[in-house]
Amino acid sequence: MKYIEDIDLGDEFGPVQIEVRPDDVIDFCKTWIRDEENSKNIFNAAPTRFTDEEFAKSEGLPGAIVPGIMSMAYLARLLNTAWPDGTITQLDVVFRQLVLHNQTINLVGVVTDTVSDDSENYIECDVYIENNEGSRLVGGKARLNIPTKH
């Protein structure tokens, strides 16, 4: 278990490398696109910018893209991998460039603050989705509650 007392500002975590496969994006969309009120999955096979290369190009995009919420899920995976005993309480992201299908991405993060007192124990981190050239496609700020030894 990782404790707040063992974490320092500047600690880096990752990279987690992911190959963005179209089938994975489609699977994500099948889970994500739901009628929550009736608890039904309402995904249909009609092409969207997230699932179909040609449809995305018809909308002026360079190709099919990963939904923003899936990019956030990737970043949540990074945080859960690095801090399995932590609890994500905030993940606030800025989408700067498109995340395309069939692209290798790297998830990386760094601790930017640690707070430990009588009432709370948490860390703040910067998290990024980078492409293979190191260009940051998505950036985010996360806060996680972390266990204490005390």
């Binding site: 500047g10 800025v94 930017t112 603050d113 703040e124 910067d126 260009s135 950036g139 985010g140």
Partner: protein, 220 residues
């Protein structure tokens, strides 16, 4: 003296870093041997003349100055030494302002304005520098920018080489850990915005990366 001339705090809508978090990070960089003396906040399309960072600056011993990054019809421009006179003459929120007029008013007001990340595709000065417009007032551009994408630094360096411009450096940080990745090294001491404008006008500076600031003893 090493200053990051381009960064955004939460006052800009696309940033997630507070000024205090930037300063804490700079203190941690100093512990690792890097020499970072200060930052200039260049919030998007705004300038709050009443905001005072003296207390934070004193607490962390990091110089904090204010500028702005404006959208113009010829790309983004950095502005330093903003005065009340300038604020009365220019609508900072006007995303289609004329950069030539901006540079002229800035100069008349004791400020200075020049292109930010000129090599950036779509919103950089490179897109306009070879047009028929008279950009004779441009003598400085931002050279190193921490947010450049593939190919953008090369475009910037070609522009600088072709036109003979001086170049500054700034991180363009929107997140804490990106602060001070690129900086401007000045040969003179800078204590306030007027000193900064003076040093820029004298062109006594060069763009550097954070790694270049490291004390020799700390290099492994």
């Amino acid at each position: 003296m090493n200053l990051d001339l381009h960064c955004h705090s939460v006052s800009s809508d696309d940033s997630r870093a507070t000024v205090e978090q930037y300063l804490k990070w700079i203190v941690s960089l100093r512990k690792k041997g890097y020499i970072v003396d200060g930052i200039v906040l260049t919030e998007h399309r705004k300038f709050d003349i009443d905001l005072d960072y003296t207390e934070l600056s004193d607490k962390y011993d990091v110089l904090v100055l204010k500028g702005s990054e404006l959208d113009t019809r010829h790309g983004h421009f950095l502005v330093y030494g903003v005065t009340k006179q300038m604020l009365n003459k220019i609508d900072f929120g006007n995303v289609k302002m004329d950069s030539i007029e901006l540079m002229k008013i800035a100069k008349e007001s004791g400020a200075i304005a020049f292109p930010a990340h000129p090599g950036r595709f779509g919103i950089g000065f490179c897109e306009y520098s070879d047009s028929d417009l008279d950009f004779a007032q441009v003598s400085i551009v931002e050279h190193l920018n921490g947010s450049y994408r593939s190919g953008e630094l090369e475009r910037t360096e070609k522009l600088i080489s072709d036109k003979g411009y001086a170049g500054t450096g700034g991180s363009d940080a929107h997140f804490v850990s990106a602060i001070a990745t690129c900086l401007t090294e000045f040969r003179t001491s800078i204590h306030n915005e007027q000193d900064l404008v003076s040093a820029l006008n004298q062109k006594t500076f060069r763009a550097i990366t954070l790694e270049e600031t490291r004390k020799p003893d700390d290099v492994n």
